[in-house]
């Protein structure tokens, strides 16, 4: 029997800015548990008057990252929780969290593929945990990441993704920049669409290979990508989604 999940107090051990709006927060946990790639932690803040609010943040670290967890958190300007992380918390501070949780949006070596990852903005965070875990396990499941960002400065894990892609058996990494592209940009320059998905899936055996798809990001992106994949013939049970929902 698995020990039930409970809230615990973690300690921030490291903060690494990834972009202007996204940072990696590494948190040490007294009751650390191995997580599965794609899972998240719930974070709870309590005000002095007792008011509580909580949000879920995806784990970016590979499953073997003991006894800490790395969360990727985007600063939402009018948010209740993320500005506290970005503007207030420093290394050594305490934060209350519960996890790892969310066993449905999970991929780990052994679940098969081909693996199709589609991310928008900080939706790449749980997908990164999948790619890092795949790499750490030496897994050769064909894998592709299609990652949509606004501008080149908004790409999270840019260098690490390039390194992963260059490894033997590394994932295919396709990027699209929807708002602004540098002059030498050789990736896509529009929102994710059926044509783009078809081309990316072509690198991992095509749609008839029935890829296992994970889509994470802003609700509209997830909705469009999921609809495009099922319209292209992928069975809905092969498509797992994680929507951000309304941002606040």
């Amino acid at each position: 029997m698995v020990e039930p999940l409970r809230w615990q107090i973690g300690t921030i051990t490291d903060i690494q800015p990834q972009t202007d709006r996204v940072s990696s927060f590494t948190i040490g946990l007294p009751d650390w548990r191995p997580h599965r790639p794609g899972q998240h932690y719930d974070v709870r803040l309590t005000a002095e008057d007792g008011y509580q609010t909580q949000r879920s943040y995806s784990i970016a670290s590979a499953a073997d990252h003991v006894p800490e967890v790395e969360l990727g958190i985007e600063r939402i300007a009018d948010g209740e929780v993320s500005p506290y992380f970005h503007d207030v918390l420093v290394t050594g501070d305490k934060v209350e969290l519960r996890g790892p949780i969310g066993g449905y949006f999970v991929w780990e070596p052994g679940m098969g593929g081909p693996l199709l990852l589609v991310g928008g903005g900080s939706g790449v965070v749980p997908l990164m945990a999948m790619l890092r875990s795949r790499q750490a396990a030496g897994d050769a499941t064909p894998a592709a990441l299609l990652y949509s960002s606004r501008t080149i400065g908004d790409i999270i894990y840019r260098d690490e993704l390039a390194r992963l892609a260059a490894e033997p058996n590394g994932p295919v990494v396709a990027q699209t920049l929807t708002r602004e592209q540098p002059p030498d940009w050789d990736g896509y320059a529009r929102r994710i669409d059926a044509q783009m998905l078809t081309e990316v899936v072509g690198n991992i055996g095509g749609m008839h290979a029935s890829p296992l798809a994970y889509i994470c990001g802003p609700t509209l992106l997830v909705e469009n990508a999921a609809a495009a994949l099922t319209d292209l013939g992928l069975a809905p049970m092969r498509v797992r989604t994680e929507r951000f929902g309304p941002s606040s």
Binding site: L5, H40, T219, R240
Partner: protein
């Protein structure tokens, strides 16, 4: 393609409320359990359901027929989980 009842910016995936659901289920993550929709018979993981979590309670709807499968509300007297929309759950 128009997705009618499921076409809602407030919609989340049940995976997102796994922690709150686990809190009422003795700390066990049941979003990995398979479930059958009592309305249309769709068979998939509970985590595949769509979630509406911005009201006083939480509602999980079938991704195929959009009918309510699971809902819960928390009161000062404790939680109430209504599973009438699930024909069954398969623990795993």
């Amino acid at each position: 393609m128009k997705r009618t009842a499921l076409d809602d910016p407030l919609m989340l995936d049940a995976n997102a409320v796994a922690g709150e659901l686990a809190e009422m289920m003795g700390g066990v993550d049941i979003t990995t359990f398979m479930t059958r929709c009592a309305h249309c018979g769709n068979h998939d993981a509970l985590g595949s359901l769509r979630a509406w979590a911005h009201g006083p309670g939480v509602v999980l709807r079938c991704v195929i027929c959009s009918q309510v499968v699971v809902r819960w509300v928390r009161t000062p007297q404790g939680a109430r989980v209504d599973l009438r929309g699930a024909a069954f759950l398969e623990p795993r």
